[in-house]
């Protein structure tokens, strides 16, 4: 790992603490449950460091991401590209780059970076804290309802130095505010590269956020995504993740339900081909009374791909009246594909309703025969069944153009 020896971006305060943490604790290994199936050799070959100058040509972004009305922040190799961004936002919505926000909104940024060694979960989070000096900041004032979605696009254009960028995204929802934010991650080229993006979300009382994450980087890339969510009383967080690209695509959510009657609903789809490894690491912490949480993730795994669902529900002492559910359903299309699904429940409170379930299945022979008896050729019937399975997650997405983008990406345009 070359990262620790790379010069520290001097503008990220606290970077030294993060690098010290790595020095003391090292990198994750197969023995760490949350990193058990990660390709540690590939990760070790990447250089996570300060932003590098983009050298290859920019891809046609509009052709690669959903078409959304509304403001857009484009981050290229860890640095906001102002020319490609449209930061003009409606009243009560404040958009900026993280680099600018560090001087203009230091208290907001502090919550993103302000980790003493205790808050750091692993070395990749530490690297992001040390080197993720730029990115997107979205702050929404109290009582503001945003009608158009905000789009944050991250573009990775690795050079031949095996670089992986670190990016930070901060989303701060004021009390009683409401918004939809879409994060799309794309990249170019066949060079080995990667991205390490950390999003922190704070939801004020009675606020509501739909957060869509579209991971579609090239198969030569590694993608690490960490979404850290803090919810106040009666807030609602809806996460929809589509973990589709990368050789190793990791989507991690850590949700703290800190205020009573908060609701979190995480759903996601991972769809693996070739030798892809698609990893979902979920932790929902019930730390207040009468909160509800839902996790529902679906995996489709073809060829020699591997899927991971590691879903935790942690009900802290005093979080009485918790209502938590988790489900992971998987469709295995090849006898060489693999799914590793693991629920983790720790319950220390009373009057708790907790449900979890996982299924692994193959295409339903009876359904195949039924469709074929209606004249639908076997390969088309197979496609319809797979898409039918996946679409049940796609249907959770509120924005039609995002749903269209996903179904198109999955290779079908429905009626």
């Amino acid at each position: 790992m070359t990262a620790a020896t790379t010069a520290l971006d001097p503008t990220v305060s606290g970077g030294a603490v993060a690098l010290d943490w790595i020095e003391a604790n090292g990198y994750p290994t197969r023995r760490d449950g949350a990193w058990r199936y990660a390709p540690h050799k590939e990760l070790g070959a990447l250089s996570f460091g300060p932003p590098v100058a983009q050298i290859a040509a920019m891809p046609d972004i509009d052709a690669r991401v959903p078409a959304l009305d509304g403001p857009r922040i484009v981050v290229v190799n860890g640095v906001v590209d102002v020319e490609l961004s449209t930061m003009v936002a409606p009243a009560g919505v404040h958009l900026s780059s993280l680099a600018v926000a560090r001087s203009e909104q230091p208290e907001l940024v502090a919550s993103h970076f302000g980790h003493d060694g205790d808050g750091i979960r692993d070395a990749y989070m530490a690297l992001n804290l040390a080197f993720g000096g730029d990115g997107a900041v979205v702050r929404i004032d109290d009582d503001v309802t945003l009608e158009v979605p905000i789009h944050i696009v991250d573009v990775e254009i690795p050079d031949d130095s095996r670089n992986a960028s670190c990016t930070g995204v901060i989303i701060a929802m004021g009390a009683r505010s409401s918004a939809t934010i879409v994060e799309t991650r794309i990249g170019t080229g066949a060079d080995f590269g990667g991205s390490n993006i950390r999003t922190t979300v704070t939801l004020g009382e009675d606020s509501s956020l739909e957060h869509v994450l579209l991971q579609d980087v090239p198969s030569s890339h590694v993608h690490l995504s960490d979404v850290d969510v803090h919810q106040a009383a009666r807030s609602r967080f809806l996460a929809r993740s589509f973990n589709l690209g990368a050789s190793f695509g990791r989507v991690a959510y850590h949700v703290d339900l800190n205020g009573p009657e908060a609701h979190t609903d995480l759903s996601g789809l991972f769809f693996g081909f070739g030798t892809q490894v698609l990893d979902q690491q979920i932790d929902v912490v019930h730390a207040a009374e009468n909160c509800t949480s839902r996790q529902s993730f679906r995996g489709v795994l073809d060829d020699e791909s591997t899927g991971i669902f590691n879903g935790g529900i942690d009900v802290r002492k005093g979080a009485d009246g918790t209502d938590a559910e988790q489900s992971n359903k998987n469709l295995i299309l090849s006898d060489r594909a693999e799914i590793n699904t693991q629920p983790r429940l720790e319950i220390l409170a009373d009057e708790v309703a907790c449900k979890h379930g996982a299924t692994v299945g193959q295409l339903d022979d009876a359904a195949m025969y039924y469709m074929r008896s209606r004249g639908i050729p076997a390969n088309e019937a197979r496609r319809l069944l797979i898409n039918g399975f996946a679409d049940q997650v796609v249907d959770d997405v509120g924005i039609e153009s995002v749903r269209d983008w996903i179904t198109h990406r999955l290779g079908h345009d429905d009626v």
């Binding site: 339903d364 074929r372 076997a378 898409n387």
Partner: protein
């Protein structure tokens, strides 16, 4: 039109059809009746092409050899099976499914595909036939449908596919009298001189609504008696006991429990 000659079907060591002959002419409606486990549904699936049977004999439809064809090719040749247990397909929109089915068959026949708008009017007409509301089109195929709704969806599909040969496998099972009336009405409306039907049923009740030209009694994998509609009435009075008790040589082969019916 349809010729079935000396058809046998087995699953592993278990022989279910034991040399069945059937001739169905254009425009004719044939009822196949028989006790549970006699091979009625196996005949239906042998016609439609389900995997898993060892089959001998011949089946030809309009001189084409059906046994040589995959299920989808049989559909393109004009075979339609109304399932006894229609399959639920969560996540697949009924309208999309129906249009894909129709266009797959049209493509296989070298015909033009039907566009979304034209299809909607085709579908609406078919839905009137079985008194289905339009929202059925936008639900997932059979998912959460009641028993009666599933059977109506089968007849809807038949109306859209316009098959040459319709095989209706216990379409009456599990239906109340109103649903039975609607479904029979749909089937009768689809009778025409070019379309043949095989109506498989355990009970005579359905045949009060769908009057067959011929009735066959299927027992232990063979057709043991054929006649006109009055045969169904006799069966209603006497049941299958006569056939089961007298027409079989070896009682040990009659135990067919566990075989898909």
């Amino acid at each position: 039109m349809l010729h079935v000659n000396n058809l046998t079907a087995a699953i592993g060591d278990k022989e279910i059809l034991k040399g069945l002959d059937l001739e169905v002419g254009a425009g004719e409606v044939h009822a196949i009746m028989g006790p549970n486990g006699s091979g009625k549904s196996t005949l239906a699936h042998a016609l439609a092409g389900r995997d898993g049977y060892d089959i001998t004999g011949t089946i030809t439809l309009d001189d084409a050899d059906l046994l040589d064809m995959e299920p989808e090719a049989r559909a393109a040749a004009g075979v339609f099976l109304g399932f006894q247990y229609p399959v639920e397909i969560p996540g697949v929109n009924n309208m999309y499914f129906l249009r894909t089915a129709l266009n797959s068959v049209r493509r296989a026949r070298g015909e033009d595909e039907v566009g979304a708008r034209d299809f909607l009017s085709v579908a609406k007409e078919a839905m009137n036939l079985v008194e289905m509301k339009e929202d059925f089109l936008y639900r997932a195929v059979n998912a959460g449908f009641s028993g009666g709704e599933k059977k109506r969806n089968e007849i809807l599909q038949m109306a859209i596919m316009q098959p040459r040969l319709a095989v209706l496998d216990e379409t009456d099972s599990g239906l109340d009298i109103d649903a039975l009336r609607i479904i029979a009405g749909g089937v009768n409306a689809l009778r025409n001189p070019d379309r043949s039907m095989i109506v498989i049923t355990h009970y005579q009740r359905l045949l009060d609504y769908i009057k067959p030209d011929f009735v066959h009694v299927l027992v232990d994998g063979r057709i043991v008696q054929s006649g006109d509609y009055t045969l169904a009435l006799e069966l209603e009075d006497h049941g299958y006991a006569n056939y089961v008790n007298h027409d079989l040589d070896d009682p040990s082969t009659r135990s067919l429990s566990g075989v898909p019916s």
